[in-house]
């Protein structure tokens, strides 16, 4: 058979693509379970990081089960959604694009070893090059931030990527999400710029302006719907 003919070339390509496609599909399906388990463990690690609990890889699931005492989904009025899916499976990325009053908001209740109760809230937004996301933990008073964790997909190392460092996220400790009983987003402000009036703020990353703005917008967009929920906790105290 003439190996340089068009027919041969076309048949060759078709056979090759089918074989390679089958091999890839097989790999993907047979590894899916393990990959999902890894992704879940990583999500648990991030949630725990927002309450400053750092555990080795193999103890994540144990610690998560121990510390996260309850999870539920609320709506923008702060009421629990009865027939909601498991909070852990709520896709925050999709929810953050919905209008505020249609969102499903996951809440993780965490009881630390010292007995204190923290509420962990989820965030998702856009940085400069790709998505950014994070978790914020709030004290039992519904007002004060206890800790925060931020992650990113592909921000510039040394600039925007600094949001994942404790030097940035530790600033959020002690900041207030409710000011005079109303939700006020924590602003991310460049040094030298005037601080916003009546709101708490943290310093932006120098050289990472767009990413910092993304973090500010993410806090505003994703935490504002939690406002009524935080208010109801605060008023119960």
């Amino acid at each position: 058979m003439n190996k340089q003919s068009n027919t041969y070339t076309i048949i060759y390509i078709i056979v090759m693509v089918v074989v390679v496609g089958a091999a890839l599909a097989f790999t993907s399906i047979s590894l899916k379970y393990r990959q999902q388990a890894n992704a879940d463990a990583d999500k648990m690690r991030q949630i725990l990081a927002s309450v400053k609990v750092e555990v080795p890889q193999d103890e994540i699931a144990d610690q998560y089960g121990k510390l996260i005492t309850s999870t539920y989904v609320i709506d923008a009025d702060g009421k629990k959604v009865a027939d909601a899916p498991d909070a852990f499976t709520v896709n925050v990325a999709m929810q953050s694009k919905e209008p505020a009053d249609k969102r499903m908001l996951p809440v993780y209740e965490c009881t630390l070893p010292d007995g204190s109760l923290k509420y962990i809230l989820a965030m998702y937004g856009a940085g400069l090059w790709g998505p950014i996301w994070g978790y914020v933990s709030v004290d039992a008073d519904g007002t004060t931030v206890y800790g925060a964790y931020f992650a990113h997909q592909g921000e510039t190392p040394g600039l925007g990527a600094e949001i994942e460092k404790p030097a940035f996220s530790d600033q959020f400790q002690g900041k207030h999400l409710l000011v005079n009983g109303n939700f006020t987003p924590i602003a991310v402000v460049k040094s030298g710029m005037p601080a916003p009036e009546g709101a708490d703020y943290v310093d932006a990353i120098s050289g990472g302006t767009i990413t910092s703005k993304g973090v500010g917008a993410m806090i505003d967009n994703c935490l504002a719907p939690y406002g009524p929920f935080l208010k109801s906790i605060a008023s119960n105290n």
Binding site: K3, Q4, Y8, T9, Y12, I13, M16, V17, V20, A23, L24, T27, S28, L31, R34, Q35, N38, A39, A41, D42, Q57, G154, G158
Partner: protein, 204 residues
């Protein structure tokens, strides 16, 4: 060329990184820490060896005018499989390497070996050539990663090796080592040392 020289030449005299200056981009990107450098090295060895064998096995059937496409498909398929395996069994490493695993596809060493060696040789020598070149690449990656992690972070494989007393005495980690330019400088130093030992590589 004997099988022995096919395997051992890429270690030093015909090293893909420091003699042929191929695959420099990934040397810059993944050598901040030693661990991703080792994993990247192993991944390239695996992909290079198997793609060399596969291409060598089917080399007589490949229509000449689409041979580059065939090579790309084989390499891309293997790379996706490697990246899926890492995601399942070494999640942290796969997160760190993320895009760079995908970029193995465009690693010039791969296309170079497929086009220059596997298309014209039997499977066994091709396998040796792939492993040899992969190791030659991995050695340089590991040397660069060793120095960058040691001097930049004071750790090796994540364990602190610079004693606390050094820091107490005023020693500071060199932040510049973490940035990409120092990978180039480190590679250049390796080339310098290598050429001063191998006079026949020096240009007149």
């Amino acid at each position: 060329m004997s099988n022995k020289s096919v395997f051992f030449n890429p270690f030093s005299k015909n090293n893909p990184v420091i003699v042929q200056i191929l695959g420099i981009c990934s040397v810059l990107a993944v050598t901040v820490k030693l661990e991703p450098a080792i994993v990247m090295g192993l991944s390239v060895i695996a992909v290079l060896a198997f793609s060399n064998v596969i291409i060598s096995l089917i080399r007589n059937t490949i229509p000449t005018n689409i041979r580059i496409i065939v090579q790309l498909v084989v390499v891309a398929g293997l790379v996706v499989i490697v990246s899926q395996l890492l995601e399942a069994y070494a999640y942290d490493v796969s997160k760190q390497l993320s895009v760079f695993i995908g970029l193995i596809i465009t690693n010039c060493i791969l296309m170079g070996r497929l086009e220059a060696f596997a298309m014209a040789n039997k499977p066994w020598p091709s396998f040796l050539d792939g492993v040899g070149n992969g190791i030659g690449y991995a050695i340089i990656l590991i040397i660069v990663g060793f120095f960058r992690e040691l001097l930049g972070s004071g750790t090796l494989l994540g364990y602190q090796v610079v004693p606390d007393s050094f820091y107490a005495a005023g020693y500071v980690n060199n932040g510049l080592m973490i940035l990409p330019p120092m990978a180039l400088v480190t590679v250049a130093c390796i080339i310098w040392v290598h050429r001063s030992f191998n006079k026949d590589l020096q240009e007149k």
